[in-house]
C-alpha cells in the first residue's frame, strides 16, 4: 500500500474497540481529559445503544493542538468516525476486536500503532459449538504484526487480574507506554486521579500496562511434560508402554494409564494396555502411528466413562475443593459452602447397581413408572455439609464394585463392539480404522446428551465400516463427524448421511 493520506497534519485520531462493560467509555474519557488538559482540543464520540449489551463498540477520539494556525476559524472541525487509513492509534480490548479493527481498515502500516490485548473473550458462536468452535488467535496475531506500523500486544486481562485494576487502566498504561501521544506519563495519571474511581488500583494497572508496552515479553506456553510414575505399579506399566508401543503414542498412553489407575485400579489400566496392544499389532505405522495414537487417547476416554461413581469421586476430592477455592478467589478470611446441581435419573441409579438388580428394575415398566417420581427433580447437593459429603463419599467408594455394575457391563460391550469394528477395518484400511477410533469424540456428556452422542457415534461408525478400502473413505467419515457436531437437531448429520452413496460391498476385503 502506498502512502494513503497526507501525513503532515497536526491531528491525532484514536479508535477504541471494546466490548460492552469493559470500560471503553472510561478509557475514552481519560484520554479526552489528558488531551484537553495538556494543550489539545479533543473530541470523543461513540455509538452505544444495544451494542452495549455484550456487543462490540467503537469509541472514537480526535484531537488537534490548541492554537495551531487555522485558516479562517479557530474551532477545529472534527470528524465523528474513523476513516480507514487515517487512524493513528487503535486500542483493542480483546484479540478478536483487534482483528475486527484490522478488518474494518482502521489499521494501516503507515500510520497505525495497534495496542491490543491478546486475551480472548469468546463470541457466542465460538462458545455454543458442540465441539471446538474457537477462532484462531495465531491468525490475528500474525495479521496484527503484518498490518500495523507497530503492534503492542499482551494479555491485558491477566495484567488486570494481577493489579486489581480495570482493563481500561491497563489499556491507558499501554497507550502511555507506547509514547505515541505527545503527553507525559503524569498527564495520564492525573486523568485517572481526576476520574476519582478506584484510583490506587487503576494507577497500579496503569503502571503495569505502561511497563508492558515498553518492554516486549513473549508469552511462551510451557510444553506439557508427561507425568513421571510415582508408584511401583506405575513404573511397571510405564516400562511396558515404552517396550510395546511406538513413541508417537507414548504421551496419550501414559496419560491413559494414569487416568485409568486413578479411575479404577492397576488391573484396569493393564486391561487398557492389552486392548491397545491388539490395535498396535494391526497398525502399519502410517501417519506416524495415528491409529495407535488415537486409540490410546480415545480408548482411555471411553474406559473412564463418567458414571455416578466417578462423578462422586471427583466431587469430594480435597484437590477439587482447593481448585474451587482458587477459582472463586476465596479470600483468607472468607468461608465457602458448595452446592452441586445433580440430577440422577432412575436409569443412572439402576446402572450403578449390581447388574442383576439394575436389570431387574429396568425390565419392569410398572415398577419403573412407580419409581420415576422420585427421580423427577434435580437435587441441590451441598458437598460441604456432612450428610451429603458422606453420601458422595460412600458412592465414590463403590468404585471397588464398579465391575459388577450394570453400566460397566454395558460400556464394556460397547467398547468391545467398537474395537471389533476397528480391528476388522484395520485389516484392510488402517487410515479408516483410525477415523473410526477418533469418532469416539462424539460420545460425551450425561443423560440425553450422552444418548444423542452415542446414537450419532453409532450412525457414523456404521456408515464407516462398509467404506473400507474406498479412496475417499477417510474424508467422508471426517465430514460425517463434523456434521454430527454441527447442530443439536441432527439435521446436518442426516443431510450428510443422505449424500453418502449406498454402502458398497468391500470388493477388496
Amino acid at each position: 500500500m502506498s502512502g494513503p493520506f497526507p501525513q503532515d497534519r497536526d491531528r491525532i485520531t484514536i479508535a477504541i474497540l471494546a466490548l460492552g462493560g469493559q470500560g471503553g467509555g472510561v478509557l475514552a474519557d481519560w484520554i479526552l481529559d489528558t488531551a484537553n488538559a495538556n494543550g489539545w482540543t479533543a473530541q470523543g464520540t461513540s455509538v452505544p445503544g444495544v451494542a452495549q449489551r455484550t456487543g462490540s463498540t467503537v469509541y472514537y477520539i480526535e484531537m488537534v493542538r490548541k492554537g495551531a494556525a487555522g485558516a479562517n476559524r479557530t474551532d477545529p472541525v472534527l470528524a465523528m468516525m474513523p476513516v480507514p487509513g487515517d487512524v493513528d492509534v487503535v486500542v483493542a480490548s480483546e484479540l478478536m476486536e483487534a482483528g475486527r479493527a484490522i478488518l474494518r481498515g482502521f489499521v494501516s502500516a503507515e500510520r497505525t500503532t495497534l495496542i491490543g490485548s491478546t486475551h480472548r473473550i469468546y463470541a457466542i458462536s465460538e462458545k455454543a459449538a458442540m465441539g471446538n468452535g474457537l477462532g484462531s488467535s495465531e491468525r490475528i496475531l500474525d495479521a496484527a504484526e503484518r498490518r500495523a506500523k507497530r503492534f503492542i500486544g499482551f494479555d491485558m486481562d491477566a495484567a488486570s487480574a494481577r493489579s486489581g485494576a480495570a482493563i481500561s487502566a491497563i489499556m491507558l498504561g499501554a497507550l502511555a507506554g507506547s509514547d505515541v501521544l505527545p503527553f507525559e506519563r503524569d498527564a495520564f495519571e492525573a486523568a485517572i486521579r481526576h476520574g476519582g474511581k478506584a484510583v490506587a488500583a487503576n494507577l497500579k494497572g496503569f503502571e503495569e500496562g505502561a511497563a508492558r508496552a515498553r518492554s516486549r515479553v513473549d508469552e511462551v506456553e510451557a510444553a506439557l511434560q508427561p507425568p513421571e510414575p510415582t508408584t511401583a505399579a506405575g513404573a511397571e506399566l510405564s516400562a511396558r508402554i515404552a517396550a510395546t508401543l511406538p513413541p508417537a503414542a507414548h504421551r496419550f498412553a501414559i496419560e491413559g494409564v494414569r487416568r485409568l489407575m486413578d479411575y479404577q485400579d492397576r488391573a484396569y489400566a493393564a486391561f487398557y494396555l492389552d486392548r491397545l496392544d491388539a490395535i498396535r499389532a494391526l497398525d502399519n505405522g502410517q501417519d506416524d502411528f495415528r491409529l495407535t495414537r488415537e486409540a490410546a487417547r480415545h480408548l482411555a476416554l471411553w474406559m473412564s466413562y463418567e458414571d455416578t461413581i466417578r462423578v462422586a469421586d471427583l466431587k469430594v476430592r480435597a484437590t477439587r475443593m482447593d481448585r474451587v477455592e482458587k477459582d472463586v478467589l476465596l479470600g483468607e478470611d472468607q468461608l465457602m459452602t458448595l452446592t452441586e446441581y445433580m440430577h440422577p435419573r432412575l436409569q443412572e441409579v439402576c446402572e450403578t447397581m449390581p447388574a442383576w438388580l439394575g436389570n431387574a428394575i429396568l425390565s419392569r415398566p410398572g415398577l419403573c413408572r412407580r419409581l420415576q417420581p422420585f427421580f423427577e427433580k434435580g437435587r441441590h447437593v451441598q458437598t460441604t455439609s456432612l450428610r451429603w459429603f458422606l453420601m458422595l463419599c460412600m458412592l465414590a467408594g463403590m468404585r471397588r464394585w464398579r465391575r459388577s455394575t450394570l453400566r460397566y457391563i454395558h460400556e464394556q460391550e460397547r467398547i468391545e463392539g467398537w474395537l471389533d469394528k476397528v480391528r476388522r477395518v484395520a485389516a484392510t484400511d488402517v487410515a479408516l480404522a483410525a477415523e473410526i477410533v477418533a469418532t469416539q469424540r462424539l460420545i460425551k456428556g450425561y443423560g440425553d446428551t450422552f444418548e444423542r452422542g452415542l446414537s450419532r457415534f453409532n450412525a457414523v461408525v456404521d456408515a464407516a465400516v462398509p467404506l473400507a478400502g474406498a479412496p475417499d473413505a477417510v474424508e467422508r467419515i471426517r465430514r460425517l463427524r463434523d456434521a454430527a457436531l454441527a447442530d443439536e437437531s441432527g439435521a446436518a448429520l442426516a443431510g450428510a448421511m443422505e449424500q453418502l452413496p449406498p454402502a458398497r460391498v468391500q470388493e477388496n476385503a
Partner: protein, 712 residues
C-alpha cells in the same frame, strides 16, 4: 432510577452566562432548553436521546425552581400530544424521542398540532437512529417533516451549533406558527465538546399560569371548516414566514471560496464528515477551510429557494450530500433549478450510495468521483486500498448483542426452548426491548417484531385451529412496551377478539433496554412518580381470566411448567404470564456498592457465584446453547486427552443461578456448582466450618491415601 446517575450533569444545568459547559451533545440540548425559557418538556426514552430524559428526571429540584414542567411521557404519542399546550398559549415546549420509531408513534398528534399551528414555540428533538449501531428500521424522519409541514433542523454536529439551533428553533417555530423538529444523529448525541453557557430563563408564562387563565380559539382545532383553512394557512402564510426567517437569520451557512465552477451542498449534520473527506482529498483542513464552496443546510426543510438558486448559479455541477432515501432534497432541488432554468447539474444519488450511512470513507469516495468528472485537475491520487483479508474475516466472529450477565430474561427463553423440545416449535411474536435478543444466538426464538408493545397484537391473526393439532401462538412483551401501548392494543385487543394465545410479559422493573427508567410497574419508590402498579392487576382489569405472575424467572422448571400449562390448558381466551425478576444490570448497580459497604463494615455478607468442574465437563456446551450468559464461557480443556474446550464461568458471574437451574431442568450434567462465599463469617459459621472441616478432612486424607496408592 435510571441506569446512569446524572447528578453531576444536573449541576452543569445550573451554569450561568459566560461559564463553559462541557459534556455530550444531548446534554447540551438540555441546557439549551433551559436557556431558551422552555415551559414544559416531555418525551419518551430511547437511544440516542435517553440521557436527555434521564437528566431532566434527575433535575427535578432545578426544574421546580425555574417553574418548568417535566414529565416522562407514557409514549411518544403522549409526548407529542403535550405540545397542545403551545397551541393557545405563548408557552415554549419541547419533546424528545428516538426516531423514526418514536415519530411513527407520535404522528397522529404531530399531524394535529401541525395542522392547527402553534402560538408558543414547539420543538421536537429527534434522535435519528440511523446507520452503525442502529437497532431499528432505516428510514428518514425527513418524510414526516414534509408530510405534516413541520420544519426540520439538522445542525452541524458541534455543541455551539446545536445549542444555537435550539434557541433559533423556538424562534422559527413562533415566527411561522409551526412546530419544529431538531434532528440529531446518534454520534452527535454522544459527541463531547463545550459551549459558552447563558443564564437559564424562567418561562415568561408557566403551564400553571396558563391553566389558570384558559384561552380558546376554535380556528386552531382540527375540525371542519378550520381544517381546510389550516391547509391554506400552511401554504400561504406559515411556509413563507419560515423561509423568510431562515434566510434573514442566516441559519444555513456558506464555507469556502465564493466563486467556483463546482460546489457542494450538505446536510448540516454531515458537515464534519464531509470536511474530513475533503481534508483527506487535500481540499480542506482540520479547521474547515474548504477550497470548494459549501452550502451547509442546518435547516433541511423547508428549502430556501433563493439561497439555493444563488449557490448553484454559475456552477457546472454541485454535489448534493443527502443521507438516506428517498432523496427528497435532490428531487426538490432539481425541480427548483428546472423552474429557474439553471443548467447546473445536481450530482447526488447517481454518485453517492442510495442507501446506508454516509461515513468518511463513503463521502471520500463520492468526492473523488465527483472531482474526477467535474474538476479532474483537483482530483487527488487515491491511495491503493489495503488488500482485503478474506481468511481473517472468517476467523473474527460476529458479536451479536445478547442478554447481560445474570439477565432474568435468559431463563424465560431457556424455558421456552425446553417447552419447544416437548411440544414442538411455536410461532413466537416478538416485541421491542431487551427480550428481542432472543432472536439471536443461542436462543433463535421469535418470528417477527412489529413495534413497541405490539407483540400480542402481532400474534392476533393466529387463531389456533379447532381440535387436535391446534397450536397457540406465543407473544412476548416487555413491561416497557406493555405500558407504552401493549395494554390496549395487545391485551385489550386479545380480550375483545377472544384470542387464544399466550402472552409472556417480562416484568423486570424498568424500561431496561432504554437505560433503566422507571415505569408504572417499577418496584422502586420514586418520589416524583407513581410506581408499583402490578401488571397482572392491569390485565385482569382488561378482562383476562388466565393470568399468572411468576416472581422468580430463574426457576426455569416453574417457567417451563407455567408455559406448558398455558399452551395446553383447555381454557379459551388470552393467557398471560407475567415473568418477574429485576433487571440484573440495574440490580447490580444498586446492590454491589451496598454489599461492598457492608463487607467493609464487617457485616456478614453471602455472595453466590457459580462454577463448572472441568474434570466432569465433557465439552458439549449444551448449557451454553441454553444460556448465552457472557460469564458462561469456555477455556482450553485441561485434560490432555480431550480436544473440545470445557465450559468455564468467569468472575463476572453474579450468581443468578440460571445455569444451575437449566442444568437441572434440562437434565444436562453434574458439573455446575454454586459457591456461596461468606464474608465476615460469624462465630457460628466458623464453628460449623471447623467441625465439618475436621470430618471432611479426615475422609479426604483417607481418600487421598487410596488415590496415591493406586496412582500411576
Amino acid at each position: 432510577m435510571a441506569e446512569r446517575s446524572f447528578k453531576k450533569e444536573v449541576e452543569k444545568l445550573r451554569l450561568g452566562a459566560g461559564e463553559v459547559f462541557e459534556g455530550e451533545g444531548i446534554l447540551a440540548v438540555t441546557k439549551a432548553l433551559l436557556q431558551a425559557g422552555v415551559a414544559y418538556v416531555g418525551g419518551y426514552q430511547g437511544s440516542p436521546i435517553s440521557h436527555l430524559m434521564d437528566v431532566f428526571a434527575d433535575a427535578d429540584p432545578l426544574l421546580r425552581e425555574l417553574g418548568v414542567h417535566f414529565e416522562s411521557s407514557a409514549s411518544e404519542a403522549a409526548a407529542a400530544a403535550m405540545l397542545a399546550a403551545s397551541v393557545n398559549y405563548p408557552l415554549r415546549g419541547a419533546v424528545a424521542w428516538k426516531s423514526v420509531v418514536g415519530t411513527n408513534v407520535a404522528s397522529d398528534a404531530l399531524s394535529n398540532v401541525s395542522s392547527g399551528g402553534i402560538t408558543g414555540g414547539a420543538l421536537v428533538i429527534v434522535g435519528e437512529d440511523y446507520g452503525e449501531g442502529s437497532s431499528i428500521m432505516q428510514e428518514r424522519t425527513h418524510a414526516f417533516a414534509m408530510k405534516s409541514q413541520m420544519w426540520l433542523l439538522d445542525p452541524r454536529p458541534n455543541l455551539t451549533s446545536i445549542v444555537d439551533m435550539v434557541e433559533k428553533g423556538f424562534e422559527l417555530s413562533e415566527a411561522s406558527h409551526t412546530p419544529v423538529m431538531l434532528e440529531l444523529r446518534v454520534r452527535a448525541c454522544h459527541v463531547t465538546g463545550s459551549f459558552v453557557a447563558r443564564d437559564n430563563k424562567r418561562p415568561p408564562l408557566t403551564v400553571g399560569e396558563a391553566a389558570a387563565s384558559p384561552r380558546r380559539d376554535v380556528n386552531r382545532i382540527v375540525l371542519p371548516p378550520a381544517n381546510f383553512l389550516h391547509e391554506i394557512e400552511k401554504i400561504e402564510t406559515r411556509w413563507p414566514a419560515a423561509v423568510r426567517f431562515v434566510a434573514e437569520q442566516r441559519l444555513n451557512e456558506h464555507f469556502g471560496p465564493e466563486q467556483d465552477s463546482i460546489g457542494i451542498i450538505v446536510q448540516g449534520g454531515l458537515f464534519n464528515t464531509l470536511n474530513r473527506a475533503l481534508e483527506l482529498a487535500g481540499l480542506s483542513d482540520a479547521y474547515g477551510a474548504a477550497q470548494v464552496p459549501i452550502y451547509c443546510m442546518n435547516v433541511t426543510y423547508p428549502l430556501i429557494p433563493d439561497e439555493l438558486r444563488a449557490f448553484c448559479a454559475g456552477k457546472t455541477a454541485v454535489l448534493l450530500v443527502e443521507e438516506g432515501q428517498p432523496e427528497f432534497i435532490e428531487h426538490e432541488l432539481n425541480t427548483l433549478l428546472r423552474q429557474a432554468d439553471l443548467q447546473t447539474r445536481i450530482i447526488g444519488k447517481e454518485l453517492l450510495p442510495r442507501a446506508g450511512e454516509y461515513s468518511g470513507q463513503v463521502l471520500y469516495d463520492g468526492i473523488v468521483g465527483f472531482l474526477r468528472k467535474w474538476a479532474p485537475e483537483r482530483a487527488p491520487q487515491v491511495p491503493v486500498p489495503v488488500p482485503p483479508e478474506p481468511e481473517l474475516a472468517k476467523v473474527v466472529p460476529p458479536r451479536p448483542a445478547g442478554f447481560c450477565t445474570g439477565c432474568p430474561e435468559r431463563p424465560i427463553f431457556a424455558a421456552m426452548k425446553l417447552v419447544q423440545r416437548e411440544l414442538g416449535e411455536f410461532h413466537v411474536s416478538a416485541d421491542i426491548g431487551c427480550h428481542l435478543f432472543s432472536i439471536l444466538p443461542p436462543f433463535h426464538i421469535g418470528n417477527t417484531t412489529m413495534g413497541y408493545g405490539l407483540g400480542t397484537a402481532a400474534a392476533s391473526a393466529f387463531k389456533p385451529s379447532e381440535g387436535p393439532g391446534g397450536r397457540r401462538a406465543i407473544a412476548m412483551m416487555g413491561d416497557g412496551g406493555f405500558w407504552h401501548n401493549g395494554l390496549t392494543s395487545g391485551i385489550g385487543n386479545a380480550v375483545f377478539n377472544q384470542d387464544d394465545n399466550l402472552t409472556i410479559i417480562v416484568d423486570n422493573g424498568y424500561s431496561a433496554a432504554t437505560g433503566g427508567q422507571d415505569i408504572l410497574s417499577s418496584k422502586a419508590n420514586n418520589p416524583t412518580r407513581k410506581t408499583n402498579n402490578p401488571i397482572e392487576k392491569a390485565v385482569r382489569g382488561m378482562g383476562v381470566r388466565w393470568a399468572r405472575t411468576l416472581t422468580r424467572t430463574y426457576d426455569v422448571a416453574a417457567m417451563r411448567d407455567a408455559m406448558l400449562e398455558a399452551l395446553t390448558s383447555p381454557e379459551k381466551g388470552p393467557k398471560v404470564i407475567v415473568a418477574q425478576s429485576e433487571c440484573m444490570l440495574n440490580r447490580q448497580r444498586r446492590e454491589r456498592p451496598l454489599m461492598a459497604k457492608a463487607v467493609k463494615e464487617g457485616k456478614r455478607v453471602v455472595r453466590d457465584r457459580f462454577g463448572v468442574d472441568p474434570d466432569t465437563c465433557t465439552g458439549d456446551h449444551a448449557c451454553i446453547r441454553l444460556s448465552g450468559c457472557p460469564s458462561l464461557s469456555v477455556k482450553a480443556n485441561p485434560d490432555p486427552l480431550r480436544q473440545d474446550p470445557v465450559t468455564h464461568i468467569d468472575n463476572s458471574c453474579v450468581g443468578c443461578g440460571n445455569c444451575g437451574e437449566v442444568a437441572h431442568a434440562a437434565v444436562l450434567c453434574p458439573s455446575f456448582y454454586r459457591a456461596s462465599i461468606i464474608s465476615n463469617p460469624t462465630g457460628w459459621d466458623r464453628t460449623l466450618h471447623r467441625v465439618r472441616g475436621a470430618v471432611i478432612g479426615w475422609f479426604q486424607r483417607r481418600q487421598a491415601r487410596g488415590i496415591a496408592a493406586r496412582a500411576f
